[in-house]
């Protein structure tokens, strides 16, 4: 079987390095050379695989065969037996059937995926989301059955608490505590809500999670219903996600047919049903109290907390609200255990987080990594760095509520605390990579345009303040910035942060304040010297024709305002007083004959 190709992955997480994974690497290379296998076998390194107690881990593909507690002395046997004779070394195989392993049986050998760890998205991309049989066949709803049969509601809550899971919607409140607060409320009726009102520009984690594996969300909600004593669940999802809605509806119907929703689930005394409520796409409805108002049929506006929804929630009843990704993690915690879950992540933030990475990177997409992974690992190792040899400038995490982090923060290990300390937030997981071609003033203005538009209007600081900030940013980017504008932005921003009621208002100035902190010189350039170094602020640019011009006339033909003049085969000229700086001539020129400055 010498011609067979194998792909080996060695866990290279901190704990495995401690357990000698480096020595294993060397031993492996030596053995492969001895057997003349270096061509047929490739060796890869992965981040923490979350099985630290069994480390170091070696994975052999095809087959996703996991070897655990591999010692240097075991390497000759693995190479000889598995790679030469195609017989797995059974004594070293880890047989524990973790839920999250399966994804890697298909995708484990691709670097982009191999360096990730999939808990919430464990089934996305490997099952048919519209067929409940696919989910059932992968131990689907077994966590629910386990909870119903072997755990009391208190034990379920204790397990979630012990896991250290924190809300994936952004704020990072410990999920177990939220569950406990809601469970401790007296009341004949309680509600479980799934917040699927994903609205950050560029974020699509929740949509993908639901479209790829809707049943895991239902299972998470069912387990919570049992734990807190609720019999009704509601999924609040925006109407602009039609496919996700269709798949949820289909999943709910299938689950009812199988007795997994409805009366006396799986023969127990527990009854629970789930319905879907559609949102109209207002960003503020992702805020939990506004979301509740929207479900109740009122205008989506936040109200002061306390009382928190766990005390006074939907229709005045105790209500447990979690985000899609949080729900999707619950079955894994129940089946694989809080102890295991607790081994993944950092001291204060456990488990994994999904990021939607967009912007200037080679590999855009969904990335689920253990907490504690650095921004550099995500941007360069997983997403392949920045295309076109351009320089990294900043990364925006947390969408319109987050901040922009410059290069100095690339080695920050991501968790709720570290991002907050760096001046940004985890948020729901949007991650936009920015290179030197992007203007930070424009970026801040873009997010402000979004938040001032989405402000519900209840609090004056947010309603009026974001509008004024947006106006100041607009005039700066149009070349009309004045001395004192930066100070005005800072004063307004801090005031809005302090005096807004909900998270939307409190965080709306973040993109401006963080870019002011980290890229103040760019603002100053815009205001004082009226230049935009990224060449993005149209009003600050001027276009001129240089000597490379051959007089082809392409620029003259595309100019919408007839600002280019010149005769054929002679150098053309741009009339500056007519030019509207749209840049079409620049794009149309094939001879680099137009200078943008």
């Amino acid at each position: 079987m010498r011609d067979k190709k194998f792909k080996l992955t060695l866990c290279d997480g901190t704990s495995c390095i401690h357990n000698q994974s480096k020595a294993l690497q060397q031993a492996l290379q030596a053995e492969l050379q001895r057997h003349n296998l270096t061509e047929a076998v490739s060796v890869h390194l992965s981040g923490c695989l979350g099985m630290c107690s069994k480390g170091p881990i070696l994975i052999v593909n095809p087959g996703y065969i996991l070897y655990g507690r591999v010692r240097v002395e075991d390497i000759p046997e693995i190479v000889e037996s598995h790679l030469v004779h195609n017989k797995a070394v059974t004594r070293l195989i880890i047989t524990e059937d973790h839920l999250y392993n399966r994804f890697f049986r298909i995708f484990g050998d691709v670097d982009f995926f191999g360096k990730q760890m999939r808990i919430a998205l464990r089934n996305c991309g490997i099952i048919d989301p519209e067929n409940i049989d696919d989910y059932l066949s992968l131990r689907g709803y077994e966590a629910l059955a386990k909870a119903l049969e072997t755990m009391t509601p208190q034990q379920v809550i204790a397990e979630v608490k012990q896991s250290g899971l924190r809300g994936r919607g952004g704020a990072g409140f410990p999920s177990g505590l939220k569950w406990e607060f809601t469970a401790n409320q007296d009341g004949d009726e309680k509600y479980v809500i799934c917040n699927a009102d994903e609205g950050d520009p560029g974020a699509f984690m929740d949509r993908s999670a639901i479209e790829g594996d809707p049943h895991t969300v239902l299972e998470g909600m069912l387990i919570a219903g049992y734990a807190i004593g609720a019999s009704k669940g509601i999924i609040y999802i925006r109407a602009e996600y039609p496919l996700a809605i269709k798949r949820l509806e289909k999943a709910i119907v299938a689950a009812r047919e199988h007795g997994l929703l409805g009366e006396k689930i799986l023969g127990s005394d527990f009854s629970f049903d789930i319905e879907i409520r559609l949102g109209a796409g207002a960003f503020v409805c992702g805020e939990e109290t506004a979301l509740i108002h929207s479900i109740e049929g009122h205008r989506g506006m936040p109200r002061p907390r306390p009382p928190y929804p766990s005390v006074v929630g939907l229709f005045g009843k105790p209500t447990l609200i979690n985000n899609v990704e949080t729900w999707a993690s619950i079955p894994v915690i129940i089946l694989d255990g809080a102890n295991w879950f607790g081994t993944v992540g950092t001291e204060t933030s456990k488990g994994t987080k999904v990021f939607a990475v967009a912007g200037r990177v080679h590999n855009t997409g969904l990335v689920e990594v253990p907490m504690g992974t650095t921004l550099r690992e995500i941007i360069y190792d997983i997403c392949g760095g920045i295309p076109g040899g351009r320089a990294f400038k900043a990364v925006q995490t947390g969408g319109p509520s987050g901040g922009c982090l410059p290069e100095a923060y690339l080695d920050t290990e991501i968790d709720y605390e570290s991002l907050a300390k760096a001046g940004s937030i985890m948020g729901s997981g949007g991650m936009i990579v920015i290179d030197e071609d992007s203007c930070m003033v424009s970026l801040a203005r873009f997010f402000l345009e979004f938040t001032q538009d989405e402000s519900c209007g209840k609090c004056t600081p947010c309603r009026e303040g974001t509008k004024r900030m947006y106006e100041i940013l607009t005039r700066i980017s149009e070349g009309n910035g004045q001395d004192g504008d930066i100070e005005k932005l800072e004063r307004l921003g801090k005031m809005i942060q302090r005096s807004s009621l909900c998270g939307l208002g409190q965080s709306a100035p973040n993109p401006v304040l963080s870019t002011l902190k980290n890229f103040r010189d760019e603002y100053e350039e815009h205001i004082q010297s009226k230049t935009c170094r990224a060449g993005q602020c149209a009003a600050l640019l001027s276009y001129t024709v240089n000597e490379k011009c051959v007089g082809c006339g392409a620029c003259r033909r595309v100019c919408p305002v007839d600002a280019v003049e010149g005769t054929r085969k002679e150098m053309h000229r741009i009339l500056q007083d007519k030019c509207i700086r749209c840049g079409q001539c620049y794009d149309a020129c094939k001879f680099d004959a137009i200078t943008k400055a």
């Binding site: 050998d109 995926f113 991309g125 099952i127 067929n131 696919d134 077994e142 386990k146 689930i265 969904l366």
Partner: protein, 117 residues
């Protein structure tokens, strides 16, 4: 009366049987990405190519849709899974590429390496 765990294990066994009866144990399993993002990139047409090929007599194939694995800029994606081999993951699959995958990979067993992710 079954306990919840017994009941779910029974359901799982039944589910596995149903999946097998739909041809899961075929030599090759083909998964086509069908999330919003994949569909926007053109995966419905790609799915149709595989459906047509099966309708026209291509046998021993289990065809399934799947959600988005997260590899956005290479969509639509298609996986061809064969027991014992590393699953082949194709990116940027157009209907034209899908037809070639049918002819070369599914019929003749040739992995078209230049389209592999």
């Amino acid at each position: 009366m079954l306990t919840p765990l017994q009941a779910i294990k029974k359901k799982r066994a039944e589910a596995v049987n149903r999946i097998v009866s739909k041809g899961y144990l075929s030599t090759k399993r083909v998964y086509v990405g069908m999330a919003t993002c994949e569909i926007a990139a053109g995966s419905k047409e790609v799915m149709e190519v595989f459906r047509q090929a099966i309708a026209k007599g291509l046998t021993d194939i289990y065809l399934s849709q799947k959600g988005c694995a997260g590899r956005c800029n290479l969509e639509p994606t298609v996986e061809v899974v064969e027991e014992g081999n590393i699953p082949v993951k194709y990116g940027r699959v157009t209907p034209q590429r899908a037809r070639e995958i049918v002819e070369r990979h599914l019929k003749k067993g040739e992995v078209i390496t230049e389209w592999v992710i």
